[in-house]
Symmetry: C2
Subunit: 205 residues, 2 copies
Amino acid sequence: MRDADATRARILAAAKKEFAKRGLGGARVDEIADRAKANKRMIYHYFGNKEDLFRIVVEEAYVDIRTAEQTLELEHLPAREALEKLVRFTWDYYLKNPEFITLVNSENLHKARHLKKSEKIEQLFRRFVDMVGDLLDRGVEEGVFRPGIDPVQLNITIAAIGYYYITNRFTGSIVFQRDLMAPEALQERLEFNIETIMRLVCVSP
Amino acid sequence: MRDADATRARILAAAKKEFAKRGLGGARVDEIADRAKANKRMIYHYFGNKEDLFRIVVEEAYVDIRTAEQTLELEHLPAREALEKLVRFTWDYYLKNPEFITLVNSENLHKARHLKKSEKIEQLFRRFVDMVGDLLDRGVEEGVFRPGIDPVQLNITIAAIGYYYITNRFTGSIVFQRDLMAPEALQERLEFNIETIMRLVCVSP
DNA sequence: GTAAAGAAAGTAACTAGTTAGTGCGTTGTT
DNA sequence: AACAACGCACTAACTAGTTACTTTCTTTAC
């Protein structure tokens, strides 16, 4: 049974897991081949080398989160509801896809040298920033949002308050002496995050 | 010239740099020895093995940030000023010590298995959480802070909005198509962060 | 229809270089 | 002399990448 596409896809999925688990430096090409039930030679055949494979994994991770975001259709909701939905989505996505966070961390450890080579990333995010910009404008028109908020700063803040909690869940649970991943703790954090963003953006909370 | 303490200290400093630059998996013991102008044999003599060396580096990084925090003496300031000072301090510390962030990221990639072995970390942080708890109480008494805010959630949020920006400065600069490390960008972010926290905590912003 | 040719998919074993960790001897200090 | 600090040179295991080969599928010629 030969299937080039399926093998390629299995390698990519395996690479995503391995890179997310151990980072670029700690990941082992042999391990990726095993996980993918493929041969190491196939990895080099389809992806050239380890770094290129990593680049494609990271690119794909960014495409995935932005694709998911675009299904939100925030345009059809009142501004306040749309903003809350975005905060909830971001939180849920990090929670369900912690490998996204690990990959981004790993890419930043390497000063984003792989993403620098990518071309499709820039336009992907321009659309996203525009979407949040439009949402902010709409909220101001509706009289519910403060004017003058920078959509990039808001984006970063929405991401930050979820991302930091999830990425540092292990040291955080030790340092703060509570299980940050307990269901009640997660619920509490999500509500705190929504309150943080609402107080930041809305005219009257 | 023989000096056990100095050699040990040079190794620790070199290890901190190397681990911060490449993570636990990517760091090379030979490189640490070279940087420290010591011999690899000395590393094993003083620290046992690579993992133990890493554990001590991470522990020391946590002790350093908490030690710096304790010089703030927030008790002697009005609550609002104290809170703003804490946000500024956190931001400045991350900016001046980006290796702290990389070490914490690396430790979380390994599910905090080194920090779990550490004993002095817990009490270090209990004091810190108490300090912020006291600050919140004082702000409520002064009539400037909302009551009922969880000091742990506030701590996490103050850290998050700075940490995320700094740790993801490389991918962030590509994705948002602006130089996030330009002096004006840094100043803008700090002010945005202060506003975020003030709106979250204060009764009237 | 079918057989030969060729291309693509897949594998095992290997190479060259790297890496954490050590054995053992040397040098300096008290 | 005794002990601690130090350093060279080694090893056993590992690791990214390659070579040379087999198997399977597709295309083309008749």
